[in-house]
Amino acid sequence: MSDREDFREIARLVRPGSRVLDVGCGEGDLLELLAREKGVDGRGLEISPEGVSACLARGLAVVQGDADSDLDYFPARAFDYAVLSQTLPQVRQPRHVLAELLRIAPRAVVSLPNFAHWRVRLSLLAGGRMPVTRALPSPWWATGNIHLCTLDDFTALCDELALRIEACAALAGAKRARAIDPKAPLENWRAESALFLLSRGDAPAPGAAKAELFS
């Protein structure tokens, strides 16, 4: 198993044998995990040639490309899940990318750091410097994050795009994921980063299918 808790959580969420697009798949750790543990038919999109090359050597199907511009070319509902793990703050158009994920797949799994976590707030309030934390490890001049947001910001965007939050879990380093209500005010302080399972609001309500998701 991967030592990344968000990967473990994603592997728990994804139905066996499903088709998954991992956007920003890096060297393919998640795709390999999903293929091995869940028999997933996975594809990746990765911006760095080194990442793509590493994926090829692992037998993964990965296209070098950019979430901002290349998602548009995937057909609608080509996948069962579109995964965007810790990548949303790095894209130029997070709103567009999020909408695209849920065009390509009926469900999206999105994880992102919470900029309202208490350590972040404290660091800015007391230290007066841009926070460098476990979830945001790079200094301001080296980070790829150009669109950081808080849990509140993200759930507001989901509402605006009429996306349904089917499940949410708080992540903290290697600790086990903790199911949360992302709209609870306290969680916007407590959650270091969060992982969302999203579907389109106009899709039928999950109901019985939801239980199956966590099987």
Binding site: R43, P49, V52, A57, L60, V62, V63, D70, P75
Partner: protein, 385 residues
């Protein structure tokens, strides 16, 4: 040539010409046919008893079947000796590699220089117009004649990459994987323009004689050399030319005339002169025409994804080079997007290099590593030892 001394020594090679009977003609897109088709090909490595480990390498415009062994005319090492061989990305210890001369070529496949059975003289311009699909149809006949139902991989760069795409469109059930390097799904206006310059140079040579030069015992060497010089520039990049030659002179000072003062001029003249020794002018006309006619989407109602609709089970890998301005990255991206739209299993890498289009033939470790990774993981998935 010293770097090629070892090439080909450790490989089990075969060389043969496949001759098809008059009753088994190659049917052409133009409506014509070639009876008594001959295809010269080379093989490297051993075919498994279950015939599952065959790799077809498709060659580019001016290359040939001598992919990993010494060229009989030039004595130079095979054009892909750095990719095809024992322990290399296309590992001849594991795969049975086949490379055949394309129809219309001049290295042993039936082409405009072959004898026309109707007249007993070289075809010249009586040779029918050929297309990429015709070349691939001929390869498919060869593969079938060799008793191979399904290729483990079909691999090619430049025009070879176009053949790979055509294979995927026409014979997807006979492919397990496909590698398309520095190619395009159609020839652009710029591609056609450069080819037209080359063709006009050949046809403007008085020795071309309306394509009938063989009968006169001459060759349009000047025209063909100029065609090669113009084309060769498109295979490089500005950065590569600058790095290699800059404004360096051949001798001290200018000649104050039109000698090859600059090293780049001398280099191009050498390229042109060497080319005419190994290539036929009419073949150049026919093959460049086939490339210009190539438009895979047009063959499928204008929708490229339709070309790959039946190729969903083929594992694709597409490569482009950042400095390739002949078949630039957007061309490869179009292929990849169409593959994605068709639901095919596609990978794509853009290799960072300043070597231009020719990078696919050169020492490009990032390409070789990615190619090796793709091929060996596909072999594992295919269950090849």
């Amino acid at each position: 040539m010293s770097d090629g001394e070892a090439a080909g020594l450790n490989i089990e090679t075969g060389e043969a010409v496949m001759r098809f009977s008059e009753g088994q003609p190659l049917r052409l897109d133009c409506g014509g046919k070639i009876a008594g088709l001959e295809i010269a090909y080379k093989t490297y490595g051993r075919l498994d008893p279950d015939r599952a480990n065959a790799v077809l390498v498709c060659h580019a415009l001016t290359l040939d079947q001598h992919v990993a062994s010494r060229h009989p005319l030039t004595g130079k090492r095979g054009w892909w000796s750095n990719v095809v061989g024992p322990g290399l990305p296309i590992d001849t210890d594991r795969y049975f590699v086949i490379c055949s001369n394309v129809v219309g070529g001049c290295c042993g496949a039936t082409g405009p220089g072959a004898l026309d059975p109707a007249t007993g003289r070289p075809y010249g311009l009586a040779f029918p117009m050929i297309t990429m699909a015709d070349m691939v149809r001929a390869q498919a006949m060869l593969i079938e004649a060799l008793g191979i139902d399904r290729l483990f991989a079909v691999v090619g760069g430049s025009m070879g990459g176009m053949q790979v795409l055509q294979w995927a469109a026409d014979y997807p059930e006979r492919l397990y994987s496909a590698v398309c390097i520095a190619a395009a799904a159609r020839h652009s206006a710029q591609n056609i323009a450069f080819h037209e310059i080359g063709r006009q140079a050949i046809m403007a040579d008085p020795d071309w004689r309306g394509g009938d030069y063989a009968a006169a015992g001459v060759r349009p060497e000047k025209g063909l050399a100029i065609a090669r010089m113009a084309a060769h520039v498109t295979y490089l990049s500005e950065a590569a030319l600058q790095r290699k030659f800059g404004r360096e002179l051949q001798r001290d000072g200018y000649s104050w005339g039109f000698d090859a003062d600059f090293q780049v001029e001398s280099y191009l003249r050498h390229q042109g002169a060497a080319f005419v020794d190994r290539f036929d002018a009419n073949s150049y006309l026919y093959i460049t025409r086939a490339m210009d006619y190539f438009d895979l989407a047009a063959q499928h109602g204008g929708v490229l994804a339709e070309a790959f609709r039946r190729a969903r089970d083929v594992r694709f890998c597409v490569f482009s080079f950042t400095s390739d301005w002949l078949y630039p990255t957007p061309e490869s991206r179009q292929i990849v997007r169409a593959l994605n739209a068709a639901g095919a299993r596609a990978s794509f890498v853009e290799i960072e290099t300043d070597k231009g289009h020719d990078a696919f033939l050169l020492d490009e470790p990032a390409l070789h590593a990615a190619l090796a990774g793709f091929i060996s993981s596909a072999a594992q998935a295919r269950g090849l030892a």
